[in-house]
């Protein structure tokens, strides 16, 4: 296992370095920079731009340096925990982001847990009771969930909550806790508000997972070893848990790497509709306004989540399924 971890980490480290370079290229690709855009906007509005201040900012943040030097400065800053300066908010990125990264992580983590808790029993039930009325009903609901965009579900829930209960369901905490330090009351308030975004963001993922688990498990249940197990009189539940369910979980474990960034980046429009103080909306705005350090920090955060997710899924797969593929090429 140690050799395996070393192999995987050796891939992970240069991958992150390469991603950081690509991210920097992407955020630098549009012509000009935030300050150029600002000058243009001020000119269009007929307002005078303080060119001295802008030049001072350009010099201070190294925007006048060659591309590679800018990249090295930025990457070294990231390593030292200095995320740079947000030109739009006129504050260091770390202060602008504030609690948003943690809140995004909480929403995403809760969504993943919700997805798994709901999808697993339903997927297993659907596969083991194929074509029953319950399976057909759950399949129908699953298709509805897959076909409904998250932002539409968010709009529907906002509307229904307003019409039926006369209440606003936006936000992730009571207003009095916004921008305040973390307290027990703030945590309780987040937990009270969390279920709505979790259901809204998690519904399509849950529906997709139910369909895939059902299909994988149905494939496994029709294999020879399951028939043999049944013929030998193994209890159905034990037989199900011992091999077919474990084997049908492999694709989910492989997908852990994609899950976290998908949940975070997929929740952008929902965060706008539900007025969530997460990273989605801020990333969107930062990309539009060429706020390069802010956008770059978010993109690196997403990349880091992907790489860590892939590492976790590789290690989990090696632990859970230590089989060779029999038709595979020779081992080293």
């Amino acid at each position: 296992m140690f050799r395996y971890i070393a192999h995987r980490l050796l891939i992970m480290a240069p991958t992150l370095v390469a991603i950081s370079f690509v991210v920097f290229v992407v955020i630098q690709l549009p012509p000009g920079d935030y300050l150029t855009t600002l000058i243009e906007e001020l000119r269009e509005l007929g307002e005078p731009a303080d060119l001295k201040q802008i030049e001072a900012l350009r010099e201070e943040y190294g925007l006048d340096k060659p591309f590679m030097l800018q990249y090295l400065d930025w990457a070294a800053g990231l390593l030292q925990g200095n995320l740079g300066y947000s030109f739009e908010y006129e504050q260091p990125v770390a202060e602008v982001v504030g609690d948003r990264l943690w809140l995004s992580f909480i929403v995403s983590f809760a969504t993943i847990i919700f997805t798994w808790i709901v999808a697993f029993p339903i997927g297993v039930y659907s596969a083991t009771h194929q074509y029953s009325w319950a399976d057909n009903s759950l399949t129908f609901i699953g298709f509805l969930g897959l076909a409904t965009p998250n932002f539409l579900l968010a709009l529907v829930m906002v509307y229904l909550a307003n019409v039926w209960f006369g209440t606003e369901i936006g936000g992730l905490m009571d207003e009095r806790y916004i921008g305040q330090p973390w307290t027990w009351g703030k945590i309780v308030s987040i937990l009270e508000h969390l279920w709505i975004p979790v259901i809204v963001i998690g519904t399509s993922g849950t529906a997709g997972m139910i369909r895939r688990l059902r299909a994988n498990l149905l494939d496994e249940l029709q294999k020879q070893y399951v028939v043999t197990g049944r013929a030998k009189g193994l209890p159905p539940f034990k037989l199900l848990m011992k091999y077919p369910l474990r084997m049908s979980l492999n694709p989910f474990i492989s997908d852990i790497g994609d899950l976290l960034p998908q949940v975070i980046s997929g929740a952008v429009i929902v965060s706008v509709v539900l007025n969530l103080p997460t990273t989605g909306k801020m990333l969107y705005d930062a990309l539009l306004s060429q706020d390069m350090f802010l956008a770059g920090s978010f993109l690196m955060f997403l990349a880091l989540l992907t790489v860590i997710g892939v590492l976790i899924s590789d290690l989990a797969l090696a632990l859970l399924d230590p089989r060779i593929r029999l038709q595979g090429r020779p081992i080293k």
């Binding site: 296992m1 050799r3 971890i5 070393a6 030292q80 595979g328």
Partner: protein
């Protein structure tokens, strides 16, 4: 008796991996010096690659001696690590795991773990004549009626050592 060592080519590749890992992570740790998360992350990874290099060196001075009675580990430099012995009659656990390098499991290596109450060897399939050791360990496992997982049995089959046939001949 047969003697088995890790081939030079495999060890050279392991040294290269350890060196590359150190070359990437150690400078990053230095750049991140003073910040808690980055520094500890890259220091940890540097330490891991250093241990990996040390482990590769230990492998380069290690030999496995296979006899009909068991498997002995001999260290040609460090005598304190020499003489560890797994007698086949005392074998109480046997696993053969596969570590994939690709998602489709078409490339990778196997690791054989043999264990008695006091000694445990983990041997990679890159060892010279690995199949001979695997075959002897499986025969001992079948003789001792050890429980083996489905994955272990399938992996032996993939190595060309079929447990079903060995069981019949045993």
């Amino acid at each position: 008796m047969t003697i088995h060592r890790y081939p030079h080519e495999t060890l050279r590749n392991d040294y290269l991996r350890a060196g590359a890992g150190l070359l990437i992570c150690a400078p990053l740790a230095i750049v991140a010096w003073g910040t808690s998360f980055g520094m500890w992350l890259f220091l940890g990874m540097s330490a891991l690659f250093a241990v990996y290099g040390l482990r590769s060196w230990l492998r380069s001075i290690t030999e496995y001696r296979l006899t009909g009675d068991g498997l002995t580990l001999t260290n040609t430099v460090l005598s304190s690590l020499s003489g560890r012995y797994v007698p086949w009659t005392d074998l109480n656990k046997l696993t053969l795991r596969f570590f994939p390098l690709r998602r489709d499991r078409s490339e990778g290596w196997m690791q054989l773990t043999v264990r008695t109450a006091h000694v445990r060897f983990s041997i990679d399939s890159t060892l010279e004549e690995f199949n001979a050791i695997a075959k002897a360990a499986l025969a001992a496992g079948l003789r001792n009626e050890l429980p083996m997982t489905q994955a272990t049995l399938e992996n032996f089959q993939a190595l060309g050592v079929d447990p079903a046939h060995m069981n019949e001949s045993a």
